[in-house]
Symmetry: D2
Subunit: 112 residues, 4 copies
């Protein structure tokens, strides 16, 4: 992505806020693909064309801008993500969080 | 991410639309970090604490949900992203797009 | 929102790109509220506390930044939205689009 | 929006999570309009065509889905937003927050 952008002299556009807006644009395209698909059919629809190819493209676009942003900010993305996952493993103990999405008290039917 | 989610029995929550919403949540946290930072100071501020660590965390969270989503949809993320980058290299020729962000006619000062 | 921001001397932060990032942050918080709620229970959960109050707050935050952005760009939001709705009424004729979400060919089970 | 959607029998698609994804899609289109515009020229560019019309359209789309979502959740949007603004006026006192964006300690140059 850095080389691709350099060759086109596009690095001048890649300040962090602009890259985040570009990322938001791609996330928006991904959301549009799935917005009206019934929840319980989304996975199956995405296993077939045309959604399969379109989803792969939009997810890729999100990744490419994320990689470009991490590069611009001198963040080693793989290291940072592994560290975050390690943290989450400690923070959300298996015993305490089994079958409970974090923050799911909000979701609890009984809660008044 | 798959193993982490499996161990907590969280895969039940990971239908595609829910994962995209989780991704949106993390992109929102990333946006919040930078929203009021002046554009021309964002990169420099992100090279120092505390923004450096916070940005690395939020970018990681976006990646982790993106990886989980790709896995759920049986998309090989690295292959798909390389394919997308190859396509972009053909679509945006160096000659034609040098110094021009795609879609930049909208940005053109002269345009009426 | 303009007066509120002026009194705190915050208008200096409100260039369009920053306001869009702030909007993204609030949309992210809204998404987080619903991400792990089962699709078919979301409406009912949102009719009760605590989700009812939380959803109202986050939807309000999105509106407040949207109003601030429209104001900053000298857009009459109510007029613009009515115009857009009129356009959509012409573009999506009742006969042709009944029960079909726009772009739903992507969703079509039969499509190969 | 309710009548528009009812006439096309689209209310069936409008569960809260789907509407939030649709909102995300429109916010993405808004972000794309501004992503490569230099921060300090964004307001001026948006005062002229073609960006002026395009921005008004995308901001309207965001509002229309937000209104539809509030309606679906039985939230009185105007009341809720006024309440939120009142809360913010108390929470962010003029004296304490003058010229300081909330959360701006992250932005502070001196912070180590």
């Amino acid at each position: 992505m850095r080389q691709f952008s350099e060759e086109r002299d596009w690095l001048q556009f890649h300040d962090p806020k602009s890259l985040i807006l570009a990322l938001v644009g791609e996330v928006g395209e991904l959301a549009e693909l799935f917005q009206w698909v019934p929840s319980d059919k989304a996975k199956q629809r995405a296993s077939k064309m045309p959604l399969q190819a379109r989803a792969a493209e939009e997810i890729s676009d999100v990744l490419l801008y994320l990689v470009r942003l991490a590069d611009e900010l001198d963040i080693n993305l793989v290291e940072a993500a592994n560290r975050k996952l390690d943290d989450s493993q400690k923070r959300f103990s298996i015993e305490q969080f089994r079958s409970k999405a974090p923050g799911s008290s909000v979701l609890d039917d009984e809660v008044e």
